[in-house]
């Protein structure tokens, strides 16, 4: 996490991502259509940065995927194998929920971009859950920069670790 990684944006990944959202907007796949707009070409949907997980060697929820290799060079167990003990930062993955996500955009993500992603820890706080148990929130801030070092977007993710299964954080 400390060293960052490179996120390669390509048209197939954008197409696949937009498809999964049930998108009908041609700006995400139709190059001829997109070229006629002020954007001048295909762009990615607003939440596409989620797919940077594919390029993050330390991503904890990667299934059987072994590439790119983890920066710690330890093989990553598939989440769920062995009772779901593959969580980042310890604890079962079933006890982690995504609580909040924010994006700040400076320019759209486009095919061909190779973005340097660096993540730093943000704030941490706790809250008593409505159904009992303490909720531990932690924030991670990722900056996406282009080859010239310009900030393209910032993603802030808040996860919550629960001491038990909860309906909502």
């Amino acid at each position: 996490m400390a060293d960052g990684y490179r996120f390669h944006v390509d048209r197939t990944a954008i197409l696949t991502f937009a498809s999964a959202l049930g998108e009908t907007n041609r700006i995400y796949w139709d190059e001829a259509f997109a070229a006629e707009t002020p954007l001048g070409g295909v762009i990615a949907p607003p939440t596409f940065a989620a797919a940077s997980a594919h390029w993050n060697p330390d991503y904890g929820l990667r299934g059987v995927r072994q590439i790119p290799a983890s920066s710690t060079s330890e093989p990553r167990p598939a989440p769920g194998a062995g009772g779901g003990e593959a969580a980042p930062e310890g604890g079962g993955i079933a006890n982690f929920l995504h609580a909040e996500q924010r994006y700040e955009y400076h320019q759209p993500l486009r095919p061909g971009m190779a973005l340097e992603v660096r993540t730093r820890p943000g704030e941490q706080w706790t809250k008593e859950g409505r159904r009992g148990g303490t909720l531990h929130f932690s924030e991670r801030v990722s900056e996406f920069r282009d080859g010239e070092g310009s900030l393209v977007m910032t993603a802030t993710s808040v996860t919550v670790r629960t001491s038990q299964v909860v309906e909502s954080p």
Partner: protein
């Protein structure tokens, strides 16, 4: 930062008024296939979203449930369909309730403020997506930068 980001607005700032609202059904009867599609596209293979045995037996949920980020992505469709492509300056949500297979989600956005910003118009919106029972699943906000007029 680039000097001037290209945008493809669908509406001009002067066409909007504080209180203007838009809503759209962003998914009807959410299928497990779509959840799996999103897992593949995003790379998030947390088994809680696709492995029923894990979700019910190990994690103790009534079934698998959709990624929060899937709901956020679906919610973004309302914003881009209404306001345009590449116009968002920020977008953030809190995931307040789980989205289950079979859910139908309606996203709503409402204009909260409109102000000039360097020759453009900065439009702040509040956003909420609810399920078929009227229960919010995500709540958040967004800001769009639009030309004064198209």
């Amino acid at each position: 930062m680039t000097a001037e980001a290209a945008r493809n607005p669908r509406v001009g700032g002067s066409d909007l008024t504080v209180g203007d609202e838009r809503e759209a059904v962003v998914v009807e009867n959410l299928g497990r296939t779509q959840i799996v599609q999103y897992a593949g596209a995003s790379g998030d293979f947390n088994p809680i979203h696709h492995d029923e045995t894990f979700a019910t037996g190990v994690a103790g949920y009534p079934s698998v449930f959709g990624h929060g980020m899937l709901t956020m992505g679906l919610t973004a469709r309302l914003l881009t369909d209404w306001l345009g492509d590449g116009v968002l300056a920020d977008f953030g949500v809190r995931f307040v309730s789980q989205v289950w297979p079979g859910d139908t989600l309606t996203a709503r956005a409402r204009v909260r403020s409109i102000e000039p910003a360097n020759g453009e118009v900065r439009v702040a919106l509040e956003v909420v997506t609810t399920n078929q029972n009227g229960q919010p699943v995500v709540k958040g906000s967004a800001t769009a930068l639009l030309p004064p007029a198209l």
